[in-house]
Symmetry: C2
Subunit: 199 residues, 2 copies
């Protein structure tokens, strides 16, 4: 079966757009998707940025909000800019890494994106994350504790290093088994088509 890895960061507005549609699109295309959380912070830092480029370059930031709002409206998605922006997605990313090894990572990730961008929830908040975990039938207290274990932290660090090695510089990104990189929600169709071509 054709395969595609979906690299995403919880603070990323365009990752939200992809998270809300990738499973349905991949199923229709007959492509198996691996959800892969990573952190943009270290990659941005290596480029000399201490925050989102949408904060560093205000015209770009204002445009992004218009662009996402138009696309979300066309897709029937709610969209609100998180406060603060970018959200601190570290805890959510560690939980997602833990969830991937236990079979609930993709569902949790979608719940995080929807809470953050459709409902304005602060995803850095333990209470908010606990509610999302409970909603998925997970023991929130146990999951939060396990997400702080060195193995989970190391796995997230390794994923971020792997992203950088693949040439990833933003999110979302899609990578096919031949290491072809596609950047941005608007390249998802192309990425799925390429995954099928090389399978």
């Amino acid at each position: 079966m054709p395969r595609l890895t979906f690299w995403y960061e919880f603070a990323s507005t365009y990752s939200y757009l992809s998270a809300m549609r990738i499973d349905a699109m991949a199923a229709q295309a007959g492509v198996e998707v691996t959800w892969q959380p990573f952190l943009l912070g270290p990659i941005f830092k290596a480029q000399g940025w201490s925050t989102s480029p949408f904060n560093i370059y205000p015209a770009k930031g204002r445009y992004m909000v218009r662009d996402i709002s138009r696309i979300a409206a066309a897709r029937g998605l709610a969209f609100h800019m998180p406060e603060p922006f970018p959200a601190n997605g570290l805890k959510a990313a560690r939980l997602a890494v833990l969830g991937m090894s236990e079979g609930w990572g993709a569902r949790f990730s979608k719940a995080v994106f929807a809470a953050e961008f459709a409902q304005g929830v602060d995803i850095a908040d333990d209470m908010a994350l606990s509610q999302l975990l409970n909603g998925l039938g997970q023991d929130a207290h146990s999951a939060l504790a396990r997400s702080h274990e060195p193995l989970v932290k190391d796995r997230l660090r390794a994923a971020t290093d792997a992203a950088e090695a693949l040439g990833i510089f933003g999110a979302p990104a899609f990578v096919t088994p031949d290491n072809e990189l596609f950047w941005g929600d608007d390249r998802l169709d192309q990425a799925l088509a390429h995954a099928k071509k090389v399978s």
Copy 2:
């Protein structure tokens, strides 16, 4: 008739993609396009950049070449990265501004883009620009001389100021009569649809 302004910069790889298809797409959509050259240099400088972001951020630059190559191949377009990159498009932009007032600006702009990105011509070279002008039936010597007149220079400067005032931070950009901004070749469909909606 619905209207759309196409803001482009001759050094911009994604502007090339749009220049090669916008007239056909706009005709099919029943939208009248105004070709509007401007300079990204002053806008980048205001953001603290002294060259293309594709040079400042190498991972982004490498990705851009892959991305454009894939899209160009899918559209049956030739694509070569100019040397040096970014090309100095000042002379070509002044000629395009002159040409707009005389009815040959869009044809000249398409010829410049094709020479630069399909044939590897250095568009900062007077001889190369003369050939393109002659190919359009223009007196190259006279056109080059007139393109250096203060009125032409002022018009290009005013266009660049207007671009910045519209919130333009990159190229290509598309602006509808209600000042809605669309950035990037991959937003051309959306921009045409919006132009029709608000006409």
